[in-house]
Symmetry: C3
Subunit: 204 residues, 3 copies
């Protein structure tokens, strides 16, 4: 089931990347690359930081086709996409949870300590979007906006706790997905934000 | 021969990097670093993604001297460089082909599957320029402009096809370089571009 | 002693990262991430480029707590920090030297050649700041400003020379730190800069 959600997640992320590329008036190639990087960049950064070679997508060329295909299709369907805004928010939130869990698992299997497992989940969850924003020449949204990274962090901590108490796998997944989705969608709905740090001096 | 073209290619890329640094009024050190990154960054990203350690330039310190030297020399000769515009376009196009072939070969030797071989060629071809543009604070040109990345992609596909049919090495090189150069120079000459995706909504 | 200076250094860098995040009005999470990346990003880039796995901070979760903690504390003390400007300049300069030495040592222990050892020192010294600036959406300061990277380069070269002549460890450290600090602080005090390359043509 996690795999199915993962495939939906990378498709959704690829589409969000394609739209970001479209806002910068990129060409076909730019759209394909940004779609690919947004969908698979988080896992790539995680694999490199953990020394997890070969990098996952190099063993799954079908992920390349899927994300590039989703990115390019977005060019055709772009005008209809905003009608599906609610659906995309839900898929994006489910994807964030799935990315986080897969990131945690990769680090767990490699025997990393718990703080690194949490970092691996977080990095997998947010770095696709960070790379997308850097390539699009803007400050990563995740550093400024809404509860997004925090959801990933909470999900990773909850997952580790449930694993620690050996809660059965299905209950863990159910708990983690419902918590993650609920917080993320509530954050979007009621504009929950973290406190902002506003520092205006140019030098210290 | 590929090695000679490679050395010319990294020199050309280093000079293009130095000029980009000059447009941002960087200092001597910035020029040297951007020259180095533009010339060797594509291969570095490829090596890291493929898990190909040690990274190539760490075994060839002479590449560091060559690219840094080319970058710094560019500061002296900058005022004359635009007279050589045609020459540079040709060298840059030949370099793109050489980078692509070397990237493909690295992945082939490591036993990666064909789609990854193509990605490795493409990444080697374009990521030096992507890193240059990110360090210079602008959206990577390759995502917006002309047929550049597409030439690298075509070259990689053609190379794999010719390898598959066991065409002799010299004929393969001749075919790949002439095709790559012809398309790239035609694209510059007649302003061939890919379709652009223009999406104006802020949110989906 | 180098470890103590290193811990002070990553704390200082984390605080500089947090202030940069505050200038971009980032939220709590953004501040924590930028603090972490500024402090530990240079060593991470070095480890990845050298193929030095596991990456250092993954074996020292306490570095994560220290840098994130320092970043978040900065939000509370920000209004007082500019009174300590001189202290921070000294700590930052000492940190630059410590980062450079640690980077050189990592490459030395892995058996890399001398030019790569120097590069490893330089990369450890400056890439935390480079990543901070990229994430904050600006051209890396180190490419434009003052003698900063050059100090790291000089320190690396001096360190290698003293090692080569088998100068005793304490004298080496004393020499390297006093030279590095003196040049860096003099560069800040008298606005020493490298020559700037100013190139205005859009195309070559």
């Amino acid at each position: 089931m996690l795999i199915t959600i993962y495939l939906i997640a990378i498709t959704t992320e690829a589409m969000s990347g394609a739209l970001a590329a479209g806002r910068r008036r990129m060409d076909l190639f730019g759209v394909a690359l940004i779609a690919f990087v947004t969908a698979l960049g988080g896992g790539t950064v995680r694999d490199i930081l953990l020394g997890h070679f070969p990098v996952s997508w190099t063993q799954h060329p079908e992920y390349i086709y899927l994300t590039v295909g989703a990115g390019l299709s977005t060019m055709l369907f772009a005008r209809f996409i905003h009608h599906l805004r609610e659906l995309f928010l839900i898929l994006d939130a489910a994807g964030l949870v799935a990315f986080t869990l897969i990131g945690c698992n990769t680090a767990l299997e490699m025997g990393y300590s718990q703080p690194i497992v949490v970092m691996a989940g977080l990095i997998t969850g947010i770095f696709g979007g960070v790379l997308r924003d850097i390539l699009c020449g803007q400050v990563p949204l995740v550093l400024k906006h809404e509860l997004y990274a925090s959801v990933s962090l909470l999900v990773a901590l909850l997952y580790l706790a449930l694993e620690h108490y050996q809660v059965p796998e299905d209950i863990t997944l159910l708990a983690v997905f419902s918590t993650g989705l609920a917080i993320r969608l509530a954050a979007v709905r009621w504009h929950w934000t973290l406190p902002v740090f506003d520092y205006t001096r140019e030098h210290w």
